[in-house]
Structure formats: structure tokens, C-alpha cells
């Protein structure tokens, strides 16, 4: 548990040899350490991979079970894909590990901080599509939080990286984090149901607007409703966030639909009353567009003259 970090002090350059499959992984650096093990960046035959190693073999087997069942979901981008499972005999002990695809990118909060709030609803729409697939396959993600969400690729796409909390529907949630847990806020049970993930999704959304989070004051839903209504970035998503906190959406796709409706409404209202801050950039782009159309007209004009010139030469 708390001693986990000291257990694996694997330095860059250390080599992990698989006992069963005889593959060699070269450790590059530590990516993160949690209660259930440490994740390292490693290379295998020149390719970057993520390698999770744990003292507890059961943890590894359990997470591998989840990842394996993900690969059975068609076209899934839910978790990282599983590459290998093996044991490593260190000088003192036998450790279990698994190797997965390395998902490279900033976590959700850093991404939003860098690229702007406008990304939040977009990424949440992506997340909700993924959750819909996951729920259909009979799983609930459980430990949904910004640290477990990575935004990756040139066309930014949200991905979940830690499947430690992923639980079969109907069982008790395996792992959770208080702020995103409906039980903590007194708003529901810890049973693995789609509504559990939708609550966490709403809390992740709220967290993006309040980067330093806040703690509960005992008023439950009332406090969260206040937080949503008082923040300009959240207020317009009230019709998505509040029902999600109350567990009123039956499925991730229902919540997704509501979020789409909200975004649509928002763009329309923005179009009707342009605020001073947004006017500046729109004008700029307009001017640019004028510039490009002007250029096209000039090119066409010159083209025509040249054509006539050529035509007159031929005759």
C-alpha cells in the first residue's frame, strides 16, 4: 500500500524479463504510482509501451481481465490495448506485470488549461460515447477522474487509462475517488450502474470549471447545484449536469443527447447576441475571408486576361 513506491525503485535502463513469454522490456521512466502498483514507460523492440507492475498478482490479473474483455468490444477506444501479461523474477521476489499500449498526452485538466474551456463539452461528448459502449458490454468504469483521462492525438481524443475501478454491472464499485463518488455526496449507492459513471462524468465536468475542486459542506445536491449555477461555464449546461447528478439519465447516450442539445442552444444564443469579447475575433476572421475572396477574384481576372491573350495569339 503506502510502501508500494519504495518497492519498485526501478531506474531508467533496468530490464524486466518475462518469465513465461521471455520478452525483455527496458524501463525508461516512471509514469505514475498508485495504491495498486506502479506504471512505467518502457521500450520493447524500439517501441514505447506502458508497463504496470504490482506486488499483488491478483491486482494484475483482475485488471488484465478487464482489458481483455475490452478488446472484445468492437472498435473500442475505451482503455489501452493489452499487449502482454507475465511475471518478473527480481533478485528477491516474483512480481506480476502487464504491458499495454502507451497513450501519450496531457491529462484532461492540463489539456483544458492549455487549449481552453471550449474543449470540455467536446471531450465529454466523446467520453459519453465511450461510456455507452462500456455499459452496453456490461461494465461500469467506476473510478472516473481527470487523472485517469488522457487527451491524445493530433485530432484530440479522450481516452481512459486506469481500469482499476472497472466493475461488472450490478456489483459493488471496486475503486473510487471521493470527489467523483456519488456516495460521498450522499446522492446514491456504490453499486456499479451506468448512473454511477454519469454522476462522475458530471463531477469531472464541474471540476474543469473549478480546477482546485472544493469540499462538501453537507448540503449535498444543493451545494452542487449552487456551484453549477454560479459558474458561467457551467450554467448553460445545467440541464445536463443537474439531472446527471440526480441519476436521472437512463443511459450515457441520453446524457450525450442532452449535452448536444445544450451545446446547440448555446451556439444559437451566441449567434443572436454577440458579446463584446467574442466580436473581436469574428471580425478578424471575416476580414481574412474578405482577403481570400479578393485574392481569388484577382487570380481569376488575371487568368482570364492570360487566356484571352493566348487565344488571340493562336488566331
Amino acid at each position: 500500500m503506502s510502501t508500494m513506491k519504495s518497492q519498485f525503485n526501478l531506474q531508467s535502463g533496468a530490464v524486466i524479463n518475462g518469465k513465461w513469454h521471455h520478452k525483455h522490456y527496458r524501463i525508461e521512466k516512471e509514469l505514475g504510482a498508485g495504491a495498486n502498483g506502479v506504471v512505467y514507460l518502457a521500450t520493447y523492440q524500439g517501441q514505447l509501451v506502458a508497463l504496470k507492475i504490482s506486488e499483488n498478482g491478483y491486482t494484475v490479473t483482475s485488471e488484465v481481465n478487464v482489458l481483455k474483455s475490452f478488446t472484445k468490444v468492437q472498435g473500442s477506444t475505451l482503455g489501452p490495448s493489452l499487449l502482454d501479461v507475465d511475471d518478473w523474477q527480481s533478485s528477491s521476489k516474483l512480481y506480476s506485470f502487464y504491458v499495454m499500449e502507451y497513450i501519450h498526452g496531457p491529462d484532461l485538466l492540463s489539456f483544458v488549461k492549455q487549449k481552453g474551456e471550449a474543449w470540455v463539452p467536446v471531450l465529454m461528448l466523446q467520453l459519453l460515447s465511450d461510456l455507452e459502449e462500456l455499459h452496453k458490454a456490461g461494465w461500469v468504469f467506476g473510478d472516473l477522474k481527470p487523472e485517469n483521462l488522457i487527451v491524445t492525438g493530433r485530432a484530440p481524443r479522450i481516452r481512459c487509462i486506469d481500469v482499476g475501478g472497472t466493475t461488472i454491472k450490478g456489483r459493488a464499485i471496486k475503486e473510487f475517488t471521493e470527489f467523483y463518488d456519488r456516495g460521498y455526496w450522499g446522492l446514491g449507492s456504490r453499486k456499479a450502474e451506468p448512473t454511477y459513471d454519469l454522476f462522475s462524468t458530471a463531477m469531472v465536468f464541474i471540476h474543469c470549471a473549478y480546477p482546485s475542486r472544493f469540499s462538501k459542506d453537507g448540503r449535498g445536491l444543493e451545494q452542487l447545484t449552487d456551484k453549477v449555477k454560479k459558474h458561467k461555464n457551467l450554467k448553460c449546461y445545467e440541464d445536463v449536469l443537474i439531472p446527471a447528478l440526480q441519476g436521472r439519465f437512463k443511459s450515457a447516450s441520453d446524457m450525450r443527447q442532452a449535452l448536444l442539445t445544450c451545446s446547440y442552444k448555446q451556439t444559437r444564443s451566441k449567434g443572436n447576441s454577440v458579446s463584446p469579447q467574442t466580436r473581436q475575433p469574428t471580425r478578424k476572421t471575416k476580414r481574412k475571408r474578405h482577403g481570400t475572396t479578393g485574392a481569388i477574384v484577382v487570380i481569376l481576372f488575371i487568368g482570364c486576361i492570360y487566356f484571352f491573350y493566348l487565344y488571340s495569339q493562336m488566331v
Binding site: 500500500m1 503506502s2 513465461w20 495504491a35 498478482g57 491478483y58 490479473t61 483482475s62 488484465v64 481481465n65 481483455k68 501479461v85 507475465d86 511475471d87 516474483l94 506480476s96 461488472i168 450490478g170 456489483r171 459493488a172 464499485i173 471521493e178 456516495g183 460521498y184 449507492s189 456504490r190 453499486k191
Partner: protein, 245 residues
């Protein structure tokens, strides 16, 4: 697979015992009787001294349980986590033993190739979801714990919430030490829901002594002796099969 119930004592304290039997010996006694002992050390501004820490760790170690030292504000999350972790640990022990029965030659799950471990893990998960749990909570109410009790109460509600999300049944009992007259006092008899303890903490009087050992000894006697999962591990094979099939 039909299983017995899984028995745990959860000791919540903030320091060292100073009266009566050695709590580490009492914890070992609990383990012998099929009850695992988990300990949570609660700090606030005060730091638990070296001796206290050592005692907390040793009690859990000899009681076959899990220990953790936390600040009061992290208590809720820790209590449910420690309880679940101890549960899984016990179940893994049971399943490992069953594997040894099947495979022979002292083989455990680590001797199976990784591909074949998945199904074994399914069994552990399934057991963790369905096993009956008996958790006896033992709260230190000596003077220094007084202002931490509201946090303790909240953590126990949270535990109830976590365990009651499972399909398996739960029974909780709550004891405090020192009691008004004896070393230990029962506040709540076996109940499936901890929510009923709303008012019980209010009327506590906190005393100066910390009789952790005697409190543990007393707590063990409150468990139903008939069916215990942990016992299965240390008993004869025949009996084990009888219980588990």
C-alpha cells in the same frame, strides 16, 4: 460454492495501549479463532509516536489484517478501503488454498501461467461480491480521540454504504473502549445497517486509559463461532471440503 461468513475486527485508535493484556497477543488470538484484525491509526494535528505506530502495525500483522495510518480527514476513504482490502486478502488466501488442493504440491496461483489466472480471479471477485461479512468495529474513545469522533462516525456510515453495495449480507457491531464500567462497552449490537448509530456517539464519556488488549479479547467473544472462512484455512482438509462445497 457455499461459503461461511468472513469475520473482521476493525480497530480505530490514535495511540498506544496502556492497560491490560498485550494487544498484539490478543490479535494473534483473534486470528487463531478465524477473525482477522485491521487497524486504523487516526492522526490530526498530533502525530502518532514511533511506539504507537509500531503497535498499530504489529496488531494488524499478527491479526492477519491490514493497517493504515491516516489523517482524520482521509478516514472515510481509508476505512472502506482497508476493510475491502482485508476481505480480498482473506479470500485470496482461501482460494489459493483451494488451488493447492486441486493442483497439489503446494502450488499457488503464481505457478499457473498468466493466461489461466483470469478465471481464478473471477472466483475471488465473485466471492468478494457475495460473501457474508461480519465486521466488529472497536473505537478507542480515550480523551485524545474525543474531537475525532464525528469524523469516525462519518467514516462508519461510509463503510456501511460501501459494503451494502455488495450482494452479500453484512453485519456490523460497534464497541467502544474504555467503557463506562468495563474495559469495553457495546454501543450497537449486530445490525445490517450502521446508520442506526446516529445518536450513540453523542453520549460517550471519554476516559484517560486505553485498554486495547482487553477490548480485543472481549470483542472476539461476540462473533458467532460456527462458520468462519478464515478458520477453514487452518483446519483439516475434510472439514474444509464440507464447508466449501
Amino acid at each position: 460454492m457455499k461459503t461461511g461468513s468472513l469475520k473482521q475486527i476493525l480497530l480505530i485508535t490514535d495511540g498506544c495501549s496502556n492497560v491490560g493484556e498485550d494487544p498484539i497477543a490478543m490479535s494473534a488470538l483473534a486470528k487463531e479463532q478465524g477473525v482477522s484484525v485491521n487497524v486504523i491509526g487516526v492522526m490530526e494535528n498530533d502525530v502518532i509516536d514511533e511506539k504507537g505506530m509500531q503497535e498499530i502495525e504489529s496488531i494488524a500483522l499478527s491479526g492477519g489484517g491490514v493497517s493504515q495510518i491516516v489523517y482524520a480527514r482521509q478516514l472515510s476513504h481509508t476505512v472502506q478501503m482497508v476493510t475491502r482490502q482485508a476481505m480480498t486478502q482473506t479470500l485470496q488466501g482461501v482460494v489459493n488454498r483451494e488451488l493447492t488442493q486441486i493442483l497439489g504440491n503446494k502450488q499457488t496461483i503464481e505457478d499457473l501461467p498468466p493466461e489461466q489466472r483470469g478465471e481464478v480471479m473471477e472466483v475471488v471477485d465473485e466471492l468478494g461480491e457475495t460473501v457474508e461479512m461480519e465486521v466488529l468495529i472497536l473505537v478507542d474513545t480515550s480523551a485524545s480521540m474525543k474531537h475525532k469522533l464525528p469524523t469516525v462516525k462519518e467514516a462508519l456510515f461510509d463503510l456501511s454504504l460501501s459494503l451494502n453495495a455488495r450482494t452479500g449480507k453484512n453485519k456490523f457491531a460497534l464497541f467502544v473502549f474504555p467503557g463506562k464500567k468495563n474495559d469495553v462497552e457495546k454501543l450497537l449490537d449486530w445490525t445490517p445497517k450502521l446508520e442506526s448509530l446516529t445518536s450513540v456517539f453523542a453520549k460517550l464519556s471519554t476516559g484517560g486509559i486505553t485498554p486495547t488488549g482487553p477490548a480485543l479479547r472481549e470483542a472476539i467473544t461476540y462473533f458467532d463461532k460456527k462458520r468462519s472462512l478464515r478458520n477453514l484455512i487452518s483446519r483439516d482438509d475434510d472439514e474444509y471440503y464440507e464447508e466449501s462445497i
